[in-house]
């Protein structure tokens, strides 16, 4: 559905996106992750035809967005980050206007309006002025607008930004539901959201795509998957030396001492388990062993590892 190939966008000397490539297949829910300023919104704006790319191509449903701007926009339902709406319009009036400029008329427009109002839970407020709505309802109005022309692709830019936990949950459930019948590109930096909803994750930082895979694959291939914590009562220097000498151990860090107990973090190669050999070593050396724990990596570890600057 989406294919972004070597996309670059420069603003003067500053590159917001540099050589980004990723894909989203039909029906996939793709999480688009990255720290603030990573180039997510710029990429999305190029996809939706609001900004032209400096170089590279972006296609939606096989059509290049810069060559067929109107056709691709018809296939996209877009919810911008700030959810811009006309404050002085009523919800129905707004949706009617948006439906009109997206080419809906008469009966089919009325039917779609009823459907999206129902689906987005706007039934009770449908006659209200937009400026009187809470942030959560505005988000729903934005989403209803994105859905009104029944597009196969939804592009949602931080849809849960600034909502309270209950609102986040209800928007998230809505997105989950929509994911069953739509391709969705969901930009966010809330990782739990992505773990819950997405089939695939694209991580972007500094304008380049750092990883693009399913959440479980990403977690299992990360280096942080192989971190082990050990607490032994031993001379720290000697313990570090001995543990470093084991096979498949990449690095041993002496974290701190708690009384006589020394805490160590051990980085090992991914896909190996060194805990048994560590236990054996402790027994042979006669070190009392208090804890031996392998950390399960989370998406957060993956994200931090890929995007941290230090």
């Amino acid at each position: 559905m989406i294919k972004v190939d070597n996309l670059t966008k420069r603003f003067g000397r500053h590159s917001a996106v540099s050589g980004a490539s990723f894909e989203a297949a039909d029906g996939e829910v793709v999480g688009f992750l990255g720290p603030n300023g990573a180039g997510k919104t710029t990429t999305i704006r190029i996809l939706t035809g609001f900004l032209p790319a400096t170089s590279g191509t972006a296609t939606v449903d096989g059509l290049d967005v810069s060559e067929h701007p109107l056709e691709t926009r018809r296939r996209i339902g877009y919810l911008p980050e700030s959810v811009p709406l006309y404050r002085d319009m009523r919800i129905r009036e707004y949706l009617r206007f948006r439906g009109h400029i997206k080419g809906l008329r008469g009966d089919s427009l009325r039917r779609r309006m009823d459907e999206v109002i129902e689906r987005c839970g706007l039934g009770d407020v449908r006659r209200k002025m937009i400026k009187t709505l809470s942030k959560g309802f505005r988000q729903r109005v934005g989403l209803a607008d994105a859905l009104i022309h029944d597009p196969p692709l939804l592009i949602l830019d931080e849809p849960t930004n600034g909502l309270d936990p209950n609102q986040i949950r209800s928007i998230r459930n809505l997105i989950k539901e929509l994911g069953e019948s739509h391709t969705i590109l969901l930009s966010t930096h809330i990782l739990s959201e992505v773990e819950m909803i997405c089939d695939k994750i694209v991580i972007i930082d500094g304008g380049t795509v750092l990883a693009s895979d399913t959440p479980s694959n990403l977690v299992s291939t990360m280096r942080s998957a192989g971190r082990i914590s050990v607490e032994v009562k031993a001379d720290p220097e000697r313990a570090r030396e001995k543990m470093s000498a084991l096979d498949q151990v990449k690095k041993v860090i002496h974290e701190r001492n708690r009384g006589n107990w020394g805490e160590f973090s051990i980085l090992v190669e991914s896909g190996t388990d060194t805990r048994e050999r560590l236990a054996n070593l402790a027994r042979e050396e006669g070190w009392p062993l208090r804890s031996l724990h392998r950390h399960a990596a989370t998406l957060e570890d993956v994200f931090v590892e890929l995007t941290r600057k230090d």
Partner: protein, 250 residues
Amino acid sequence: MGTLLIILRKEFRGFFQSPFGWILLSLVTVMQGWSVSSAMKALQDAPIPESLVYIVFHMPQFWFYFLALFPLITMRLFAEEERAGTLETLLTAPVQTAQLVLGKYLATLCFYLVLWIPSFLQFQIFGLLTDLDPPFSTGSLGGVFLLIMLMGSLFIAIGTFASSLTSSQIIAGVITVGLLFIHYFLGYITVIYGDQFPAASLFHHISASEHLRDFSRGLISSSTIIYYLSAAAFVLFMTHHALNYRRWKS
């Protein structure tokens, strides 16, 4: 074409869905009525060899409220969309920039024409109330309203252009006022410096006050019509490019 009409209708209704349009309409009606009554007072006081239409549009009030209208009705057009971010939702819907520019422009032009209905009626009322022949010819009334429409088409285009340059309505309004004043006073260059320099005819050609003098006497010149319409088209073309360029840069 459908999209253009939808945008036109939305924008036109927008003028009447807030107090703004109604306040402006009533203020303009008052100013127009005041012009007519002070013109009649002037005719009563001393014989003037000009028609009522000519005198009404040469009252000191006229250029004041006339030039102040344009920033008021145009400053909102694109600046507000830009500020609220709704330009993004508009231009990511299947809408062409040209449809958006023309839709907004024509809607404002329609509202502007509505603003002149009271003035037109005031001239009709004279005949209805007095049973006398109106003290002006059809030619001068028609000429003045034609010129009002022509000046409106250019000045609204200028305001639309200014609004597309910024996200601040105030700045858009100030730019519009500035450009309109400059345009107006360029017409006075020949009054200040005389006709003895090569470009003098150019300044006569674009002088709004000379256009008003001629048209309100019923002297309609095709070169003036072409001047306003082609300049309006050119400024709209620039608006289209300014909007695209702004998106391309930022």
